[in-house]
Every structure is written in C-alpha cells, then in structure tokens.
Subunit: 213 residues, 2 copies
C-alpha cells in the first residue's frame, strides 16, 4: 500500500458525496424533520480459497476510521494531524471484498467484477451464492447491502487485484486462516472492521466450517 | 406506535445532524479529499429474557429505510410521497436496544440506561457482558460501536419502555423466540435491520443457545 502523508482536516460546506436531504412527516401529531444522506446500495463477497483453506479479504485506508482513532482532544476540527503521533496505519481496516451498486447490472455480476478488480480471482456469476440482504446506516441512509459467498482456488487467480487505480483504490489483499478468523471475532481491542465483517465471519464459521475444524 | 402521515422529501443545504467535513491527504503522491460526517459512537445491547426464552428487541420507523424501500423511479427528490402506495410500515426496522455515546458515562452505564428507557427492564451495570467493539459506516464515519449482552427476567420489568418521548423516540418492544431468530437470519426478503443485528443474532445463537435447541 502506498504511504499516506500530509493529513489535514478541512471544513466542508458542500460535498459531491455526502448530499443531505430530509424527510418531513407527522408522527402522532408532531411534525418531524429527519436528515438523511443519499447513498448507494452495495454488495459484500465472502471469498473462501479452497486451495489454502483461507478467507480472502481486503485491507484499505479509511479516512473516517483514522480520524476516529485519534482521541477527541487531539482531533482537529480544522488543521493538520500529527502523523508521527497518530500513524496512518490506525485507519487500515479489514473488510470483505465489496462494491457499490452504481451500474445497471445484476448484483451477482457486480460481485464478480469486484472479486476480479479487488482480489484478482475470476469467478462465475453462477458461483455467487446469495446469503441475505439487510440495511446499512439505519439512522442516516438505509441502503440495501447484499452478502454473497463464493469459493476460489489458486488456479482462478488472474491478477494481483488491488482495486482500480483510476478510481483511487489502493487495496491490499489479505488472507485469514480459520484460527485467525476465530481470533478476530473474539478480540478485545476495537476491531477496525464493520459489523458486516463480523456477521460474515460468523456466518462462514457456522455454515461452511465443520465444528471443531 | 403512532401513525405516520404527510411524508414529504425536502432539499437540505445545512443540517445540524449531518455535518460534512473532509480529510485531505497524500497517498503515493496523489492528493485525495475524502468527505466524512461526524457521528457519535454507540452501544448495542442483546437482551435475553430468561423467563420467556426470547430476545427482547425494538421496532421503530427509520426515515431512510422507508425512503429506500420505494422504487427509485417513484422516489421524489423534492415533494410528497404517496403513503397509500407506499405505507410507512415499509420503514419499520428490527434492531437491538441501542444508543449513542453522548454523555460522559461508562459504556456499560449508557447500555443500562438504554435498556431501561427503550425496553423497560432494570439491569445492573455489572450484568452487562461486553462482546466486541467494531466500526460503523466505514466509508463515511468510522465511529465505534460496542456490543453488550445481558439477561433479564419478567421480574426485572419496571415500565413499558418505548424510548424518551421528549427526544422524539417512539419505540415498540418486540420479542423473538429462538425459532423466529433462526428464520430472521435465513430469510430471503430484504431484512429491515442492519448487519449489526445479524451479527448479534448469530453471536447469540452460537454462544448462548445450545445446538439444536
């Protein structure tokens, strides 16, 4: 992953990515205004490498996670962050291969594209097993996230992956063994990953790994 | 729950709740600007009622989930939503008892307060079992969410719960049996709940319910 330097916080009045809008409604006589952001639906792909008995995941730098890793008293509202005191590695997350739904394609096809682009494996659409769809960011967005499961072998590896450089992606592919997954879901530090990741790991252990493996 | 009427979408230029800011950084020579929103850390509480062998959960109307339940072509950018065609029940979610961390209190104490306010059970701080902490909304926020587990009995019920009316909360307490939980995590429709809920249900089934219960 490329080094991250010169981190600073700036105020933003308008954003092309975070576009607030509001829903106004009456609930039992009271008028309520609720602020929301428009956000895309998405897919997650749990990738099991059969050749090596590992889960193929991704690591990337997430600016929000980095910012929130800094104690509040040292978190500037505007200005430079001391990256010697707070190394950018604090913002590295572990996640499933994932993508947003911004194309007029079936969810399975988007999942296949993301597996190729981020992790470098060529998977068939018919090998995407849908697990479940749920909601993300209930209080601000409510977008629909769909989980898939797929299996790969070393023979299906066609590139290094890493994401699309022209889209600013810089993704590291990582693999976890079954004991490592058990450690992740029982760790006592804050996991730099989401509850989607935790759900997917639990689902995998429960449905795909025989007990006491 | 009180009826919801007169739902309309309005544009918002400024929000007291969704405050965008940006992190600017260099990654391998490229300058990147990433827009974020400031959001609170939070707690989730998995509540098991021993008297009735149920999980105590909450239902509430989530404006974003409602809006995203409407097909995109019928989703106004500005204007009224036809609530006959799209009933507000589309926005009802199932969730764990939860709260944001906006007080200078231990997480366990905030969890105890939320169990009392939302579900009406009086629980001791020492009976909050911490499960794990992870991140929420990786791409826009990165706030820290902590999961707790606690057990209650019917004797610990002190009120109806329902949330704090003066904070605009209108929460319905619901209970799920173990077979109902198994149905939720394997359902084929979109779950009107988050991956936090799915993770917590899986964790509960795996760690607290004997196999083949």
């Amino acid at each position: 992953m490329k080094p991250i330097t010169d981190v600073r916080v700036v105020k933003t009045t308008e954003s092309a990515f975070i576009r607030p809008f509001s829903l106004i409604f009456k609930q039992g006589g009271n008028e309520i205004k609720w602020d929301l952001i428009d956000s895309h639906n998405g897919v997650f792909v749990i990738i099991y490498n059969r050749t090596r008995n590992t889960l193929v995941c991704v690591k990337q730098f997430r600016p929000g996670v980095y910012y929130k890793s800094i104690p509040e008293c040292d978190r500037p509202k505007d200005g430079r962050i001391d990256t010697n005191k707070y190394p950018p590695s604090l913002g590295l997350t572990v996640e499933f291969c994932a993508g947003i739904v911004d194309k007029n394609k079936a969810l399975e096809e988007i999942a296949v594209d993301e597996v190729r682009e981020e992790c470098g494996y060529e998977v068939k659409v018919s090998d995407m097993q849908k697990i479940i769809s749920c909601r993300a960011a209930l209080s601000t967005a409510g977008s629909i996230m769909t989980f898939f499961y797929t299996e790969v072998t070393d023979q299906m590896k066609i590139s290094e992956g890493g994401g699309l450089a022209h889209e600013g992606e810089d993704i590291e592919v990582v693999e976890y063994t079954i004991p490592q997954i058990r450690d992740i879901i029982t760790q006592s530090e804050v996991l730099n990953g989401s509850s989607s990741f935790l759900f997917g790991l639990m689902w995998f252990l429960t449905n795909k790994i025989v007990l006491n493996n």
